[in-house]
Amino acid sequence: MTRIHDMGGRFGDGPVTPEPEGARVFAEAWHARALALTLASGSLGQWTLDRSRHARERLAPADYATFTYYEKWVAALTDLLVETETITRAELEGGETALSPLAGKRLASDTVPDVLSKGAPTDRRGPPPAFAVGDAVATRRPPRNDRITGGHTRLPAYASGHIGNVIASHGSHVFPDTNAHALGEGPEPLYTVAFSARDLWGPDATQGDEVMLDLWQSYLKPA
Protein backbone atom coordinates (compact mmCIF):
# COMPACT_ATOMS: atom_id res chain seq x y z
CA MET A 1 0.00 0.00 0.00
CA THR A 2 1.06 3.56 -0.36
CA ARG A 3 -0.90 4.97 2.57
CA ILE A 4 -3.85 4.04 4.75
CA HIS A 5 -6.33 5.46 2.23
CA ASP A 6 -5.20 3.00 -0.44
CA MET A 7 -7.61 0.29 0.68
CA GLY A 8 -8.83 -1.30 -2.55
CA GLY A 9 -9.02 -5.06 -2.02
CA ARG A 10 -8.47 -4.93 1.73
CA PHE A 11 -10.01 -7.74 3.76
CA GLY A 12 -11.58 -7.23 7.17
CA ASP A 13 -14.19 -4.55 6.53
CA GLY A 14 -17.76 -5.50 7.23
CA PRO A 15 -20.78 -5.49 4.95
CA VAL A 16 -21.84 -2.46 2.95
CA THR A 17 -24.97 -0.92 4.39
CA PRO A 18 -27.30 0.44 1.69
CA GLU A 19 -29.30 3.59 2.43
CA PRO A 20 -32.80 4.43 1.30
CA GLU A 21 -32.90 6.42 -1.92
CA GLY A 22 -34.68 9.22 -0.12
CA ALA A 23 -32.23 9.52 2.78
CA ARG A 24 -31.18 13.05 3.62
CA VAL A 25 -28.19 14.30 1.64
CA PHE A 26 -26.54 15.50 4.84
CA ALA A 27 -27.20 13.26 7.82
CA GLU A 28 -26.11 16.03 10.19
CA ALA A 29 -26.22 19.78 9.75
CA TRP A 30 -22.49 20.01 10.43
CA HIS A 31 -21.77 17.66 7.54
CA ALA A 32 -23.25 20.26 5.22
CA ARG A 33 -21.24 23.05 6.85
CA ALA A 34 -18.05 20.98 6.60
CA LEU A 35 -18.58 20.38 2.90
CA ALA A 36 -19.45 23.97 2.15
CA LEU A 37 -16.57 25.29 4.24
CA THR A 38 -14.17 23.04 2.33
CA LEU A 39 -15.47 24.19 -1.06
CA ALA A 40 -15.51 27.87 -0.12
CA SER A 41 -12.02 27.68 1.37
CA GLY A 42 -10.75 25.89 -1.72
CA SER A 43 -11.96 28.73 -3.89
CA LEU A 44 -9.43 31.03 -2.20
CA GLY A 45 -6.94 29.40 -4.54
CA GLN A 46 -4.33 28.51 -1.95
CA TRP A 47 -4.21 24.83 -2.89
CA THR A 48 -5.20 22.48 -5.66
CA LEU A 49 -7.81 19.71 -5.51
CA ASP A 50 -4.96 17.21 -5.70
CA ARG A 51 -3.27 18.79 -2.73
CA SER A 52 -6.49 18.66 -0.74
CA ARG A 53 -6.82 14.95 -1.50
CA HIS A 54 -3.27 14.44 -0.32
CA ALA A 55 -4.01 16.37 2.86
CA ARG A 56 -6.70 13.79 3.69
CA GLU A 57 -4.42 10.90 2.85
CA ARG A 58 -1.70 12.31 5.08
CA LEU A 59 -3.82 12.17 8.20
CA ALA A 60 -2.33 9.83 10.79
CA PRO A 61 -3.39 6.26 9.99
CA ALA A 62 -5.24 5.90 13.30
CA ASP A 63 -7.18 9.11 12.55
CA TYR A 64 -7.92 8.10 8.97
CA ALA A 65 -9.19 4.72 10.16
CA THR A 66 -11.52 6.14 12.79
CA PHE A 67 -12.62 9.62 11.70
CA THR A 68 -15.99 9.90 10.03
CA TYR A 69 -15.97 11.15 6.45
CA TYR A 70 -16.46 14.83 7.13
CA GLU A 71 -14.14 14.77 10.12
CA LYS A 72 -11.43 13.78 7.66
CA TRP A 73 -12.41 16.70 5.43
CA VAL A 74 -12.30 19.22 8.24
CA ALA A 75 -9.07 17.87 9.70
CA ALA A 76 -7.39 18.09 6.29
CA LEU A 77 -8.86 21.53 5.63
CA THR A 78 -7.47 22.82 8.89
CA ASP A 79 -4.04 21.39 8.10
CA LEU A 80 -4.11 23.08 4.69
CA LEU A 81 -5.21 26.42 6.10
CA VAL A 82 -2.32 26.40 8.55
CA GLU A 83 0.27 25.04 6.10
CA THR A 84 -0.57 27.73 3.57
CA GLU A 85 -0.51 30.34 6.35
CA THR A 86 -4.07 31.28 5.53
CA ILE A 87 -4.70 31.02 9.26
CA THR A 88 -2.29 30.52 12.15
CA ARG A 89 -2.18 28.00 14.96
CA ALA A 90 -2.59 30.85 17.41
CA GLU A 91 -5.81 31.90 15.70
CA LEU A 92 -7.06 28.32 15.81
CA GLU A 93 -6.38 28.24 19.53
CA GLY A 94 -8.52 31.31 20.02
CA GLY A 95 -5.91 34.04 19.78
CA GLU A 96 -6.55 37.47 18.31
CA THR A 97 -7.26 37.61 14.65
CA ALA A 98 -7.34 40.18 11.87
CA LEU A 99 -8.73 40.51 8.39
CA SER A 100 -6.84 38.31 5.95
CA PRO A 101 -5.04 39.77 2.93
CA LEU A 102 -6.93 37.10 0.97
CA ALA A 103 -10.31 38.53 1.98
CA GLY A 104 -10.67 40.00 -1.49
CA LYS A 105 -10.80 36.47 -2.88
CA ARG A 106 -13.70 35.46 -0.66
CA LEU A 107 -16.33 33.43 -2.49
CA ALA A 108 -19.41 35.63 -2.73
CA SER A 109 -22.80 34.06 -2.33
CA ASP A 110 -24.07 35.31 -5.66
CA THR A 111 -21.19 33.75 -7.61
CA VAL A 112 -21.66 30.29 -6.06
CA PRO A 113 -24.03 28.93 -8.74
CA ASP A 114 -21.64 30.04 -11.45
CA VAL A 115 -18.55 28.62 -9.75
CA LEU A 116 -20.19 25.27 -9.06
CA SER A 117 -21.69 24.91 -12.51
CA LYS A 118 -18.42 25.86 -14.18
CA GLY A 119 -16.31 23.38 -12.25
CA ALA A 120 -12.63 22.99 -12.96
CA PRO A 121 -11.92 20.81 -15.99
CA THR A 122 -8.53 19.10 -15.90
CA ASP A 123 -7.98 18.44 -19.59
CA ARG A 124 -4.98 20.30 -20.99
CA ARG A 125 -2.80 20.43 -24.04
CA GLY A 126 -0.02 17.97 -23.50
CA PRO A 127 2.37 15.55 -25.10
CA PRO A 128 1.06 13.11 -27.69
CA PRO A 129 -0.07 9.79 -26.26
CA ALA A 130 2.47 6.99 -26.26
CA PHE A 131 -0.18 4.29 -26.17
CA ALA A 132 -3.22 3.57 -28.31
CA VAL A 133 -6.49 1.87 -27.53
CA GLY A 134 -5.83 -1.87 -27.58
CA ASP A 135 -2.25 -1.62 -26.34
CA ALA A 136 -1.12 -3.81 -23.48
CA VAL A 137 0.49 -1.81 -20.69
CA ALA A 138 2.17 -2.67 -17.39
CA THR A 139 1.66 -0.50 -14.33
CA ARG A 140 4.49 0.83 -12.23
CA ARG A 141 5.60 -1.27 -9.28
CA PRO A 142 5.92 -0.16 -6.52
CA PRO A 143 3.08 2.37 -6.73
CA ARG A 144 4.82 5.62 -5.93
CA ASN A 145 5.16 9.26 -6.69
CA ASP A 146 8.50 9.33 -8.45
CA ARG A 147 9.14 13.01 -7.73
CA ILE A 148 8.25 13.24 -4.05
CA THR A 149 8.92 10.42 -1.61
CA GLY A 150 5.59 9.46 -0.11
CA GLY A 151 3.86 11.98 -2.35
CA HIS A 152 0.39 11.87 -3.80
CA THR A 153 -0.23 9.33 -6.52
CA ARG A 154 -3.34 7.82 -8.05
CA LEU A 155 -2.14 4.33 -8.86
CA PRO A 156 -3.71 2.10 -6.23
CA ALA A 157 -1.46 -0.60 -4.81
CA TYR A 158 -3.77 -3.39 -5.89
CA ALA A 159 -3.32 -2.46 -9.56
CA SER A 160 0.43 -1.96 -9.37
CA GLY A 161 2.67 -4.33 -11.28
CA HIS A 162 -0.15 -5.69 -13.39
CA ILE A 163 -0.75 -5.84 -17.12
CA GLY A 164 -3.91 -4.40 -18.63
CA ASN A 165 -5.24 -3.10 -21.91
CA VAL A 166 -5.88 0.48 -22.88
CA ILE A 167 -9.59 0.86 -23.62
CA ALA A 168 -9.83 4.65 -23.84
CA SER A 169 -7.50 7.58 -24.38
CA HIS A 170 -8.53 10.91 -22.85
CA GLY A 171 -5.91 13.31 -24.13
CA SER A 172 -3.77 14.98 -21.50
CA HIS A 173 -4.94 15.84 -18.01
CA VAL A 174 -3.38 17.62 -15.05
CA PHE A 175 -0.98 15.20 -13.36
CA PRO A 176 -1.85 14.74 -9.67
CA ASP A 177 1.63 13.59 -8.71
CA THR A 178 3.05 17.03 -9.51
CA ASN A 179 -0.03 19.18 -9.02
CA ALA A 180 -0.46 18.05 -5.41
CA HIS A 181 3.04 19.29 -4.59
CA ALA A 182 3.28 22.70 -6.25
CA LEU A 183 5.34 21.17 -9.05
CA GLY A 184 2.96 22.39 -11.71
CA GLU A 185 0.11 20.81 -13.61
CA GLY A 186 2.51 18.77 -15.77
CA PRO A 187 -0.25 17.46 -18.04
CA GLU A 188 0.17 13.87 -19.21
CA PRO A 189 -1.86 11.58 -21.44
CA LEU A 190 -4.56 9.82 -19.44
CA TYR A 191 -5.94 6.39 -20.31
CA THR A 192 -8.57 4.01 -19.10
CA VAL A 193 -6.96 0.64 -18.62
CA ALA A 194 -8.89 -2.61 -18.18
CA PHE A 195 -7.50 -5.37 -15.96
CA SER A 196 -8.71 -8.91 -15.62
CA ALA A 197 -10.21 -9.35 -12.15
CA ARG A 198 -8.62 -12.81 -12.05
CA ASP A 199 -5.20 -11.28 -12.59
CA LEU A 200 -5.75 -8.79 -9.80
CA TRP A 201 -7.39 -11.05 -7.22
CA GLY A 202 -6.74 -14.63 -8.20
CA PRO A 203 -9.23 -17.41 -8.85
CA ASP A 204 -11.83 -16.12 -6.37
CA ALA A 205 -12.71 -13.52 -8.99
CA THR A 206 -15.16 -14.52 -11.71
CA GLN A 207 -13.58 -15.31 -15.06
CA GLY A 208 -14.24 -12.44 -17.45
CA ASP A 209 -14.91 -9.78 -14.83
CA GLU A 210 -12.78 -6.68 -15.18
CA VAL A 211 -11.60 -3.68 -13.21
CA MET A 212 -11.00 -0.42 -15.04
CA LEU A 213 -8.77 2.39 -13.82
CA ASP A 214 -7.88 5.81 -15.18
CA LEU A 215 -4.10 6.00 -15.29
CA TRP A 216 -1.58 8.61 -16.36
CA GLN A 217 1.09 7.80 -18.87
CA SER A 218 4.00 7.80 -16.47
CA TYR A 219 2.33 5.07 -14.41
CA LEU A 220 2.56 2.84 -17.48
CA LYS A 221 5.09 1.14 -19.66
CA PRO A 222 4.61 -1.10 -22.69
CA ALA A 223 3.83 -4.71 -21.76
Binding site: V16, V25, R33, L77, G119, A120, T122, L200, D209, M212
Partner: protein, 201 residues
Protein backbone atom coordinates in the same frame (compact mmCIF):
# COMPACT_ATOMS: atom_id res chain seq x y z
CA UNK B 1 -38.16 5.60 17.62
CA UNK B 2 -40.91 7.41 19.58
CA UNK B 3 -41.50 10.93 18.32
CA UNK B 4 -40.27 12.54 21.52
CA UNK B 5 -36.88 10.85 21.34
CA UNK B 6 -33.89 12.40 19.66
CA UNK B 7 -31.59 10.34 17.51
CA UNK B 8 -28.71 12.19 19.12
CA UNK B 9 -28.26 14.29 22.19
CA UNK B 10 -29.22 17.90 21.68
CA UNK B 11 -25.72 18.82 22.82
CA UNK B 12 -23.76 19.56 19.65
CA UNK B 13 -21.23 16.85 18.82
CA UNK B 14 -17.56 17.58 19.11
CA UNK B 15 -16.98 17.66 15.33
CA UNK B 16 -19.99 19.96 14.97
CA UNK B 17 -18.43 22.37 17.44
CA UNK B 18 -15.09 22.22 15.72
CA UNK B 19 -16.61 22.95 12.33
CA UNK B 20 -18.52 25.84 13.84
CA UNK B 21 -15.34 27.22 15.41
CA UNK B 22 -13.51 27.00 12.10
CA UNK B 23 -16.35 28.71 10.26
CA UNK B 24 -16.38 31.51 12.82
CA UNK B 25 -12.64 32.05 12.51
CA UNK B 26 -12.70 32.07 8.71
CA UNK B 27 -15.65 34.45 8.72
CA UNK B 28 -13.87 36.85 11.07
CA UNK B 29 -10.85 36.82 8.82
CA UNK B 30 -13.03 37.71 5.86
CA UNK B 31 -12.23 34.44 4.09
CA UNK B 32 -15.70 32.98 4.16
CA UNK B 33 -19.15 34.40 3.62
CA UNK B 34 -21.62 32.27 5.59
CA UNK B 35 -24.26 33.13 3.02
CA UNK B 36 -22.10 31.49 0.36
CA UNK B 37 -22.00 28.35 2.48
CA UNK B 38 -25.79 28.43 2.66
CA UNK B 39 -25.95 28.66 -1.12
CA UNK B 40 -23.56 25.74 -1.58
CA UNK B 41 -25.56 23.64 0.86
CA UNK B 42 -28.85 24.56 -0.77
CA UNK B 43 -27.42 23.59 -4.16
CA UNK B 44 -26.55 20.05 -3.11
CA UNK B 45 -29.40 19.55 -0.68
CA UNK B 46 -32.10 20.60 -3.12
CA UNK B 47 -30.92 21.32 -6.65
CA UNK B 48 -28.14 19.03 -7.79
CA UNK B 49 -28.92 15.39 -7.12
CA UNK B 50 -29.81 12.06 -8.67
CA UNK B 51 -32.80 13.54 -10.52
CA UNK B 52 -30.23 15.01 -12.92
CA UNK B 53 -28.75 11.63 -13.71
CA UNK B 54 -32.21 10.05 -13.92
CA UNK B 55 -33.22 12.56 -16.58
CA UNK B 56 -30.10 11.68 -18.57
CA UNK B 57 -30.79 7.97 -18.32
CA UNK B 58 -34.45 8.32 -19.24
CA UNK B 59 -33.53 10.35 -22.27
CA UNK B 60 -30.92 7.80 -23.30
CA UNK B 61 -33.59 5.11 -23.06
CA UNK B 62 -35.97 7.00 -25.34
CA UNK B 63 -33.72 8.96 -27.70
CA UNK B 64 -31.31 6.69 -29.61
CA UNK B 65 -29.35 9.60 -31.08
CA UNK B 66 -28.84 11.05 -27.59
CA UNK B 67 -27.84 7.62 -26.28
CA UNK B 68 -25.16 7.40 -28.98
CA UNK B 69 -23.87 10.88 -28.16
CA UNK B 70 -23.90 10.05 -24.45
CA UNK B 71 -21.87 6.90 -24.96
CA UNK B 72 -19.40 8.53 -27.33
CA UNK B 73 -18.96 11.87 -25.51
CA UNK B 74 -20.66 11.88 -22.15
CA UNK B 75 -19.47 15.32 -21.13
CA UNK B 76 -21.03 17.09 -24.11
CA UNK B 77 -24.19 15.03 -24.01
CA UNK B 78 -24.99 15.80 -20.39
CA UNK B 79 -24.02 19.45 -20.95
CA UNK B 80 -26.79 19.61 -23.58
CA UNK B 81 -29.17 18.98 -20.70
CA UNK B 82 -27.51 21.63 -18.56
CA UNK B 83 -25.58 19.28 -16.32
CA UNK B 84 -22.10 20.64 -15.94
CA UNK B 85 -19.76 21.66 -13.21
CA UNK B 86 -17.93 20.55 -10.17
CA UNK B 87 -17.13 16.83 -9.99
CA UNK B 88 -18.76 16.38 -13.35
CA UNK B 89 -16.25 18.12 -15.59
CA UNK B 90 -15.47 14.93 -17.50
CA UNK B 91 -18.24 12.37 -17.82
CA UNK B 92 -18.19 8.88 -19.24
CA UNK B 93 -21.43 6.92 -19.43
CA UNK B 94 -21.35 3.13 -19.36
CA UNK B 95 -24.33 1.05 -20.31
CA UNK B 96 -25.59 -2.08 -18.58
CA UNK B 97 -26.72 -4.88 -20.85
CA UNK B 98 -27.61 -8.51 -20.48
CA UNK B 99 -23.94 -9.31 -21.01
CA UNK B 100 -22.28 -6.60 -18.93
CA UNK B 101 -22.98 -4.97 -15.59
CA UNK B 102 -21.05 -1.81 -14.69
CA UNK B 103 -20.35 -0.60 -11.18
CA UNK B 104 -18.51 2.51 -9.99
CA UNK B 105 -16.23 3.04 -6.99
CA UNK B 106 -13.39 5.28 -5.90
CA UNK B 107 -11.03 3.18 -3.83
CA UNK B 108 -8.66 6.06 -3.05
CA UNK B 109 -11.17 8.62 -1.82
CA UNK B 110 -14.79 9.07 -2.90
CA UNK B 111 -14.86 10.56 -6.42
CA UNK B 112 -18.44 10.65 -7.65
CA UNK B 113 -20.35 12.46 -10.42
CA UNK B 114 -21.77 15.30 -8.30
CA UNK B 115 -23.26 17.17 -11.26
CA UNK B 116 -25.40 14.15 -12.09
CA UNK B 117 -25.93 12.39 -8.77
CA UNK B 118 -25.24 15.01 -6.11
CA UNK B 119 -23.33 14.19 -2.94
CA UNK B 120 -22.52 10.48 -2.55
CA UNK B 121 -24.44 8.40 -0.03
CA UNK B 122 -22.65 7.27 3.10
CA UNK B 123 -22.08 3.71 1.92
CA UNK B 124 -20.28 4.91 -1.21
CA UNK B 125 -17.78 6.69 1.03
CA UNK B 126 -17.44 3.79 3.48
CA UNK B 127 -14.26 1.78 3.90
CA UNK B 128 -16.24 -1.39 3.28
CA UNK B 129 -17.39 -0.28 -0.17
CA UNK B 130 -14.04 1.20 -1.15
CA UNK B 131 -12.16 -1.91 -0.03
CA UNK B 132 -14.52 -4.53 -1.38
CA UNK B 133 -16.16 -3.24 -4.56
CA UNK B 134 -13.07 -3.87 -6.68
CA UNK B 135 -12.29 -7.27 -5.22
CA UNK B 136 -15.71 -8.81 -4.78
CA UNK B 137 -18.29 -6.76 -6.67
CA UNK B 138 -20.74 -9.64 -6.78
CA UNK B 139 -20.61 -10.01 -3.01
CA UNK B 140 -21.26 -6.30 -2.59
CA UNK B 141 -24.10 -6.40 -5.12
CA UNK B 142 -25.70 -9.21 -3.14
CA UNK B 143 -25.82 -6.87 -0.14
CA UNK B 144 -27.89 -4.54 -2.32
CA UNK B 145 -30.15 -7.42 -3.28
CA UNK B 146 -28.73 -7.76 -6.78
CA UNK B 147 -27.70 -11.18 -8.01
CA UNK B 148 -26.19 -11.45 -11.46
CA UNK B 149 -25.82 -14.62 -13.50
CA UNK B 150 -22.23 -15.73 -14.10
CA UNK B 151 -22.84 -15.10 -17.78
CA UNK B 152 -23.10 -11.39 -17.04
CA UNK B 153 -19.64 -9.92 -16.88
CA UNK B 154 -18.99 -7.33 -14.17
CA UNK B 155 -16.91 -4.28 -14.97
CA UNK B 156 -15.91 -2.18 -11.98
CA UNK B 157 -14.74 1.36 -12.70
CA UNK B 158 -12.33 2.72 -10.11
CA UNK B 159 -12.49 6.52 -10.44
CA UNK B 160 -8.79 7.26 -10.07
CA UNK B 161 -8.76 10.44 -12.20
CA UNK B 162 -11.24 13.26 -12.92
CA UNK B 163 -13.40 11.16 -15.23
CA UNK B 164 -16.75 10.64 -13.55
CA UNK B 165 -18.75 7.56 -14.44
CA UNK B 166 -22.50 7.32 -14.90
CA UNK B 167 -24.04 3.87 -15.18
CA UNK B 168 -27.02 3.60 -17.54
CA UNK B 169 -29.10 0.84 -15.99
CA UNK B 170 -31.15 -1.52 -18.14
CA UNK B 171 -34.57 -0.21 -19.09
CA UNK B 172 -37.22 -2.22 -17.28
CA UNK B 173 -39.57 -4.35 -19.30
CA UNK B 174 -43.14 -3.14 -19.57
CA UNK B 175 -42.24 0.50 -20.05
CA UNK B 176 -42.78 0.71 -23.79
CA UNK B 177 -44.19 4.06 -24.74
CA UNK B 178 -43.48 5.71 -21.39
CA UNK B 179 -42.44 9.35 -21.42
CA UNK B 180 -38.90 10.28 -20.32
CA UNK B 181 -40.43 12.03 -17.29
CA UNK B 182 -42.22 8.86 -16.19
CA UNK B 183 -39.24 6.69 -16.93
CA UNK B 184 -37.01 8.95 -14.82
CA UNK B 185 -39.04 8.02 -11.74
CA UNK B 186 -37.79 4.44 -12.14
CA UNK B 187 -34.13 5.44 -12.21
CA UNK B 188 -32.64 5.18 -8.75
CA UNK B 189 -29.40 6.66 -7.51
CA UNK B 190 -28.05 3.20 -6.72
CA UNK B 191 -28.82 2.01 -10.25
CA UNK B 192 -26.69 4.81 -11.68
CA UNK B 193 -23.74 3.75 -9.47
CA UNK B 194 -24.30 0.17 -10.58
CA UNK B 195 -25.33 -1.10 -7.15
CA UNK B 196 -28.94 -1.53 -8.07
CA UNK B 197 -31.28 -1.94 -10.98
CA UNK B 198 -33.95 0.46 -12.20
CA UNK B 199 -37.31 0.05 -10.49
CA UNK B 200 -39.85 -2.16 -12.18
CA UNK B 201 -43.04 -0.36 -13.20
Amino acid sequence: MPHDDHAHSLLPSEPALRVKALETLLTRKGLIDPAALDTIIDTYAHKVGPRNGAAVVARAWTDPAFRDRLLSDGTSAVAEMGFTGRQGEHVTAVENTEDTHNMVVCTLCSCYPWSLLGIPPGWYKSDAYRARAVREPRGVLAEFGVTLPHSTKVRVWDSTAEIRYLVIPRRPNGTEGWSPEDLATLVTRDSMIGCGEARRP
